[in-house]
Symmetry: D2
Subunit: 106 residues, 4 copies
């Protein structure tokens, strides 16, 4: 389970500014998409990009991901751990090792 | 700081499958964008969407975000907390309360 | 087939600025994603958004789509017409009429 | 101006299936983002990707772009040509030639 500090701080920020009225699963998903595009912009013309800028944009994506997880009553790290189990099964070691293929093309 | 379990489990998965060779800041940023699109698809024609599907897609976005944070030597929750401080300054309480405007339009 | 004016004008712009060196199918696909995120931003907190802004961002998405089509030796409108035929088959009138479901859920 | 065949064919498809009820500027912008992510997926782990797949996904992005342009009462190629004029001004030849920098970093 993620520790509570980031989540508590996010909840305070949102509560103080009365922003919860704007946060729906849909609007937060749109926001994640928008910020993911800004992250990708760091690498638009250069595969190496500016990594400090990238960390800064990643922070925005993560922020909206945490807010959406909270709205869905999910712990972010529990979501990751649960999905990991699915990935282990879909990508068995003997077939997936050293390959970037999708599970249905292994 | 995020607890170590999700990160440790992700690192094991990646190491066992020898996937680190495919993980660059750019390829993980592309992956975040791709998965963000799949999350948005839950709400393509319906603003209410299917929230169980959304949680499942959010898990994928979060997974790539954690992998990118790790590659950039950043703690995901430290990134969120740091960005929160910037947001507090850009969106002062007295002007941002109850408004969804961008900071440059407050 | 799309008329030639937009394409010719794009080619001149790119040639004069010697930008073709930056245009690969991958970099243009990243650019389409980035601009699509900016288009979505017009509707981030408001489903009605600002339609003049949206038209402006749509122009950017379309510009990169045309550049990518050209790089792939495809005519943009021929691509649309060909995909339409696939859609007609995947979404038969009697099952798809008045429904927003995906073809595999009709 | 784009020729009418692609637009007319799209309009017929939408009318026959009674899909106009689902098409708002917001839902079409979401759709463009979703399809842009699928296009990017062709290059997720390989900068060279599969170009036939890419053309197929580009067709989906273009289709939604045309539908959105139509909903906004805009001609797709007129949008491109108008944006081109803005680009010419923001990226003057003498400063932009051979450089991929953004206009505010030239």
């Amino acid at each position: 389970m993620a520790d509570r500090r980031a989540l508590d701080a996010l909840r305070s920020l949102v509560a103080e500014r009365e922003w919860a009225q704007f946060h729906t699963p849909e609007s937060l998903s749109k926001s994640i998409c928008i910020e993911a595009g800004e992250l990708l912009e760091c690498f638009q013309w250069n595969p190496h990009g500016d990594l400090a800028d990238a960390a800064d944009e990643l922070a925005d994506v993560l922020t909206y991901c945490y807010l959406l997880a909270d709205l869905l009553n999910q712990d972010p790290e529990a979501l990751i751990l649960k999905k990991l189990e699915t990935t282990r099964v879909k990508y068995p070691l003997d077939r997936a090792r050293g390959r970037s293929n999708r599970y249905d093309q292994l």
